[in-house]
Symmetry: C2
Subunit: 174 residues, 2 copies
Amino acid sequence: MEEFRGELSRLGFQMEHLGVGYEEIQADTLEEVIGQGLKELGERGLDNFIIDDSGLFIDALNGFPGVYSAYALRTLGCGGILKLMEGIESRGAHFKCCIGARIQGVGEIVVCDIAKGEITEEKRGGGGFGFDPVFRPEGEPRTYAEMPLDEKNRISHRGMAIRSFSRKLEERMD
Amino acid sequence: MEEFRGELSRLGFQMEHLGVGYEEIQADTLEEVIGQGLKELGERGLDNFIIDDSGLFIDALNGFPGVYSAYALRTLGCGGILKLMEGIESRGAHFKCCIGARIQGVGEIVVCDIAKGEITEEKRGGGGFGFDPVFRPEGEPRTYAEMPLDEKNRISHRGMAIRSFSRKLEERMD
């Protein structure tokens, strides 16, 4: 919320948390989840809102936990991911964030961004949340959880997606 | 389909595969998935249909893979489940099947049944499908995948749920 606010206030938008839920569908891609969310909320008459969703996609696990990252975190945690990755040398993974919005006078916008990186051999760092302690972004010695929040936000999948979103919104407003 | 047909033909029902999909929502319970499916298909005007969904719920993994069993099977397979269970002594699990239906003159029916058992230490058997090779039902030396299909159907979560469904349907028709 604060990340969105910081980026969108310069475009003259005021934001508030609506606390409105939507059915997240079982799908293999975040694009489908966000697309369905936009559709459902639109059908319910909302015409000025932003939704976002993120996931960790691990190459060697065929994209698991992907769109079900929140559920995998609740049930398996970081420990489960490390266990699944035991003995696996190819540790490539990416975090992905998709943002969808319907904005009065602008229409519908969907943007996605990814941050490539690797699954570490053990949990590192006390910051961040979710799978941050086991994800080390490319070109960085630290995991997401070892980075100060403002630094993580500069390079993270969500930070990138928010800036992409803001740029696209600005273009559309011209 | 054949299991349903075998059980419901004695009540005078003829069945065909409709090939109609519905959005499976992200939820922690099969009841929610089935409830939402009934609602969506009902809203789309269908008034004579049966849907079902199943999942494997592992105690030591906080119910994982649960409602996301199909996705976990596609990405992690039986090997991933065995890896997550490595070194874990408490191997209790259950398969659960929920069936939902809306039937003309009868109304809505939802039934669920479970088969308790354990996650084996290795894959066993070439029959069945999904996680059958790593699930050994209570009181049985064999995994689901080691049992002939008709024998598995007699004791399986789906077999039980289909018979519960059939009994409930029969009561409602009296």
